[in-house]
Amino acid sequence: MVPGAFVRVYFPTQEQPRRPGLLHIGYVLVATAREALLAYTTSQPWPAGSPLPAGVRLFDAAQAAALNQSRPFVLRLDILAKLPMTAPWFPDIGKPAQGVIAIAPRRLQEELVDLASNLVRRRRDLIEMRGL
């Protein structure tokens, strides 16, 4: 699995942070040979009038379509998951495409790394690691 991929993943939940959760499309921010750090995405629209927190990136219908997604979505760099690349977490890992829906273009990948980098630098003390 490569960095910048949008991939089908059982993203963990607040209630059960150590177990595979609901099927979502996650964004691979960092990948190693055995693990990946993914950002949460959801097609639930962001509430109108609510300010966007740092680390949240909205994708409109056109941007979503360019990434092979049928609906606008929200990418949350403030909700991340560090997961092993195994079938319980990635249901399609054994298939040729490994569940990868699309790969973000280089410019978008850089934008998201910069966003994550700023977030981590400014909020280091507010990062909550759950589940190790």
Binding site: P3, A33, P53, K82, R106, V113, M129, G131
Partner: protein
């Protein structure tokens, strides 16, 4: 004279529709507001009044807006970043472990490595 047979159902329909509308579209409640007294130095009050006028607001509305902005900023500052970590994952990473994106520049790759090392180094909060 006999009452036209169709009027009653129409009235009944109108009443039912009105009832449903009341049930399904409750009137929005405006949040209750409380009055507070604010004492400012005259010079500051004049400045605030001038800013409010520039923005076509009343002084009260301007002060309320500024205070709400401050509340939002505080909410934002308190926001936590959550990293879920599966039990089988490692708690340490070397920069060279990070896979480079296709066509990724050296600078972008270094930033990605730095984010990874930083995030991997954070201890579990339980």
């Amino acid at each position: 004279m006999a009452f036209p047979a169709r009027r009653k159902p129409l009235l009944a329909f109108a009443f039912t529709w009105h009832q449903n509308r009341l049930i399904t579209q409750p009137r929005k409640k405006t949040p209750q507001k409380v009055a507070i007294t604010l004492r400012l130095e005259a010079a500051n009050a004049r400045r605030l009044q001038a800013i409010a006028q520039d923005e076509n607001r009343t002084l009260t509305n301007y002060v309320e807006t500024v205070l709400l902005r401050d509340l939002l900023a505080r909410d934002e500052a308190d926001r936590v970043i959550t990293v879920f970590a599966a039990p089988e994952t490692s708690s340490r990473i070397e920069p060279d472990d990070v896979i480079r994106g296709e066509g990724e520049s050296d600078a972008a790759y270094e930033r990605r490595q730095a984010v990874a090392v930083e995030l991997w180094s954070i201890p579990d909060n339980g």
